[in-house]
């Protein structure tokens, strides 16, 4: 009985593949295990073997054609099958037998065919042929090929947005910026020279960075169950100690250095909170790897400072300064911005007193640090003036429950309000 050979799913999740070559001629008798064809996806080329003995009677697609997984690509016959049997199989497969006889690729998404675009204006007919993406090879402009060659970039890692998915210069530039930038920093790249628009607004095309931020943070906010805890930290002593240390050592440790160190110490005190959420298991860390935002001209980077719990404040300061330097010079490496269970973001320098941040998955939390300001405080029943810094913890409820988060935040508050301990 004749049967239909369909495009196999060569790779898990692949939706289409390209038939590179038929390894046997139409009408060839094959045995189990004989190679029928080479089939190519973006990732691999595989030999497609006969699963039963018989004759490969009809080809329904031609070498170079791309077809969705499951699309009939050939008719397989058993001994004794006649043309009627083939026709029946074709009919079963939904293939017009006359067309199939010519192996006309009516079933498959094909290769560029000229089509006429809509006229853009009554007198302007744009007769550019439409470009259809091909799975069979990678398209990149000549310029991009040269740039990739010169900078050693594998273009398979770059997504094209030009006609037919062609990788064009903008794609390449965006890729370069991304690979040297934070995975999800709050980067705002300024698009050069937005076109003037008579409608009264301008449209600034998205950069790759912008799109990445939008995608990742939308995903985070819509899939990670956030909850928020705030604490007003008294930082009179921190301010005092910091200025004394800076004066004594002739250094300039920032408030943020102290905050990062306090975050690390809080994790040492509440190790259950040093986790990230996974689909099947929670991953708990021994050391405190903290992401720190660093501003550069190209945007914000978030290098991960690892093992902060065992670093001196000076070492923290140095580690952050060096990472910042590499970020600014564009020499920071991908692995430096990957990992960590927690992030610190600080808008205090802008005068913001209180805000909540969005978690950068798979991290479980992010601490939003506001400005340390003089505020009225109640001390022992009377009103006084004190330095207060409000911090807000955004937490992933899947990983950390409210009580644990509160425990952790209390530990942080204790450490930041007793800064001398951070010097030990």
């Amino acid at each position: 009985m004749a049967s239909v050979v369909r495009m196999p799913e060569v790779l898990a999740g692949a939706t289409e593949a390209v038939l590179s070559t038929w390894s046997v001629a139409e009408g060839t008798e094959v045995a189990v295990g004989d190679v029928l064809a080479e089939i190519e996806t973006e990732k691999a080329t595989v030999e497609y073997q006969a699963e039963e003995a018989g004759t490969l009677a009809r080809f329904l697609i031609q070498p170079g054609d791309s077809a969705d997984v499951g699309t009939p690509i050939a008719i397989f016959t058993a001994p004794g099958d006649d043309d009627a049997e083939i026709s029946r199989a074709l009919a079963d497969a939904g293939v017009n037998s006359a067309a199939a006889a010519e192996a006309a690729p009516t079933l498959v998404e094909l290769t560029p065919s000229p089509s006429i675009a809509e006229p853009q204006a009554s007198l302007v007919v744009d007769q550019q042929p439409a470009l259809v993406p091909s799975a069979s090879r990678l398209f990149a402009s000549p310029l991009v090929r040269r740039l990739a060659r010169e900078s050693g970039v594998d273009l398979a890692t770059v997504t094209g947005t030009g006609p037919g998915g062609r990788i064009v210069r903008k794609d390449f530039d965006a890729h370069q910026a991304r690979t040297s930038a934070a995975p999800a920093g709050t980067v705002v790249a300024v698009a050069p020279g937005p076109p003037r628009n008579p409608a009264g607004y301008v449209e600034v095309a998205h950069t790759g960075m912008r799109k990445a931020i939008a995608r990742r943070l939308s995903e985070s906010k819509s899939t990670v169950p956030h909850f928020y805890l705030s604490a007003d930290c008294r930082v009179d002593r921190l301010v005092q100690v910091r200025s004394e240390v800076n004066a004594a050592k002739g250094v300039k440790y920032s408030l943020n250095d102290w905050v990062v160190k306090a975050v690390a110490m809080a994790f040492m005190e509440v190790p259950d909170a040093n986790v990230i959420w996974g689909d099947t298991a929670m991953r708990r860390f021994d050391s405190a790897d903290i992401s720190v935002a660093v501003a550069t001209e190209g945007g914000l980077f978030t290098p991960v400072i690892r093992g902060v719990e065992s670093m001196s404040l000076g070492a923290v300061n140095t580690a952050i300064a060096e990472a910042a330097g590499r970020a600014r010079s564009g020499t920071i490496k991908q692995e430096e911005i990957e990992g960590g269970s927690f992030a610190v973001t600080n808008l205090g320098m802008y005068g913001t007193t209180e805000f909540a941040a969005i978690i950068n998955p798979p991290q479980w939390g992010i601490l939003a640090v506001g400005a340390a300001t003089q505020r009225p405080v109640v001390e022992n029943g009377s009103l006084a003036v004190g330095s207060v810094m409000t911090v807000t913890l955004s937490a992933d409820h899947r990983a950390v429950d409210g009580a644990l988060a509160a425990q952790w935040l209390a530990a942080f508050q204790r450490h930041i309000e007793n800064p001398v301990g951070l010097l030990l």
Binding site: Q120, A121, L123, V124, V125, D126, Q128, S141, P142, L143, V144, R145, R146, G160, T161, G162, P163, R166, V168, R169, K170, D171, D173, A174, P192, G193, P195, R196, N197, A205, H206, T207, G208, K211
Partner: protein, 729 residues
Amino acid sequence: MATYTPLEPAQPWIQVQATQEDWGSADPALLATMLGQLHLIRAFEETVLELAGEGLVHGPAHSSIGQEGGAVGSAVGLRSSDAVNGSHRGHHQFLAKALGYVAPNGLDLQQLVTPDISTVLDKTLAEILGLARGFCKGRGGSMHLQWHDAGALGTNAIVGGGVPLAAGNAFAQKRAGTSDLTVTYFGDGAVNIGSVLESMNLTSAWDIPLIFFIENNLYAVSTTVEEATGEPRLSGRGVGFAIPSFRVDGMDPLSVYLTMQKAEEYVRAGNGPAVIEAEVYRFFHQNGAFPGSAFGYRSKEEEESWRARDPLTMMADQMKALGLINDEIVASVRQQAQEAMSAVAATLVEQDPEGKPGVRRIRPDLWPEPSFVDVGVRGDLSELSGARTQERSDYTGEVIEVRFVDAVADVMDRNMSADDRILVLGEDIHRLKGGTNGATKGLAEKFPDRILGTPISENAFTGLGGGLALDGRYRPVVEFMYPDFMWVAADQVFNQIGKARHMFGGESAVPLVLRTKVAMGSGYGSQHLMDPAGIFATAPGWRIMAASNPYDYVGMMNAALACDDPVLMIEHVDLYMTKGEIPAEGLDYQIPYGTASLVREGSEMTVLTYMSMVNHTRDALDSTGIEADLVDLRFLDRASLDWDTVGESIRKTNNVLIVEQGAVGTSYGGWLADEIQRRFFDYLDQPVQRVTGSEASPSISKVLERAAIAQTAEVEAGLRRVIAAKGAR
């Protein structure tokens, strides 16, 4: 009842035949020279056929064996300063003129071959074999023999194609105040060609000293003259143009000589052209060493009857009858000619070391170097070195604002005042206050004999311009009222003027400027509204310029008029009424040759355009807000394009849009896009994009015309297309 009055032609039509009395009174030295030339040419042609038979002549060998009488009889009396040109069958005419030049006092039958004659035979045969030491360095071969010093203007492989050029040479002779003349030889096949008939008309109208010498050998390849025309007495053509016309037996050199004497007398006196039809017969087929009868289009009997009238025999018999020579001398003349040719051939060919004994080959060291292939397609522009150049941005003096079309007339006025070699030819340019658009305004009044309104015959007046330019004493400016007329004159424009320098060895200057105007938008329809830049860009030899503003036009026209190559200057009717600044004084500057102008700078893309589309592109950039490098190419041909400026911009922007107005088929940008993708492939972020008109030639209907051409809206769409293909990020 109507009255019927016979009309007479304005000029006579005469059959000429020498009498025995004429033979008796002929100068014996003249007869001896004719006999010697006949034998030298015969021996030469026999050698050519011999080598052709051995496969050593690449291409056709159109032998003149049998037809020598017409050439010798007509050329023997010419001055060195007279000129001849001819057709594909031209060895005999070329040699007759060249022999007359190197032996002005005639030939000595005892000592027939002088060293000078030997050199002529050698350089002619070398040329026919395509060798470096030929008259045209091997470029011309059998069908393009030129020796300017001897007054041999160049034979021509296009039937009738050389005739307008000969008219131009004769026009130069006339305007230079000489009594010299030009003889243009062509065959019965050419007499029905437009170039010939147009030239008869034009030379008659302008009293140009040209002799139309028709070698009627009865067959155009295999088609008989009776098949080809209702009036096989071909000299009858001349009478219709009021040209005195003669018919003579071309197998009789003295009769031909006497006919020439008569025609020359009329022509040298300034009366205008003459037509001579000489009946001759080629003993062999169109080419090669077999008789025509072998191909079945004529009989052996007919060939026998003509062979019996062989001009060599006839000449010898008459001279023997007059007691001037005897059989021994005739045999000696024949032997001297044959030996001279054997000696010449022996220096050009040798035993093939890989062939059997007797198999010969060209001596390998005589071939031209392959690297010579493109040398001399155009000149080296050394004539422009030292010119005063000045861009608008460099000029700080006083300016006046003028209409573009007035700048066209002003710069021509300035050049014609300074250089009386400049002549302007074209239809209606002398009337209508400066032609149809005013581009020659005021010039006809100021230079009445140099602004020449022509008959409507583009082949004739364009070719006449080419002949004037090749002569060297004048610098013609030819105007095509509309660019599409180039198709009418295509042979002269492309086959003759464009190729002349290269084809004849690379050294002849062709200082001709061809002006025309693009008129898209004027409603003149499908046959008037092309942009010729694309077609000319495919043609070797031509330089192309197009200005977008009056200042550039002045500086580019000055360069064009100073250039020794043919230059097409394209103008646009849309620009004629636009205004721009030119210097109030001192129009004698040139735009630096071969430089483009960067009109705007921007990073998004490089727009390459010219002429009126510069303004449309500027408008489109304004309306879309797109920032691009806008390059006004100005100098458009392959040899003159400013690759430095174009390349620098492409390397910066990585995206290219070529903008032009006209139909896509004949468009300019195709070759440019091709060149760009090869030169700058690794700098391109998308295919080279183009803005052109549609495929159709613009129609009369206003709506369809608008739809067929590109203007600002189409440039806007093109700009957006480039932006879109730059990706979505």
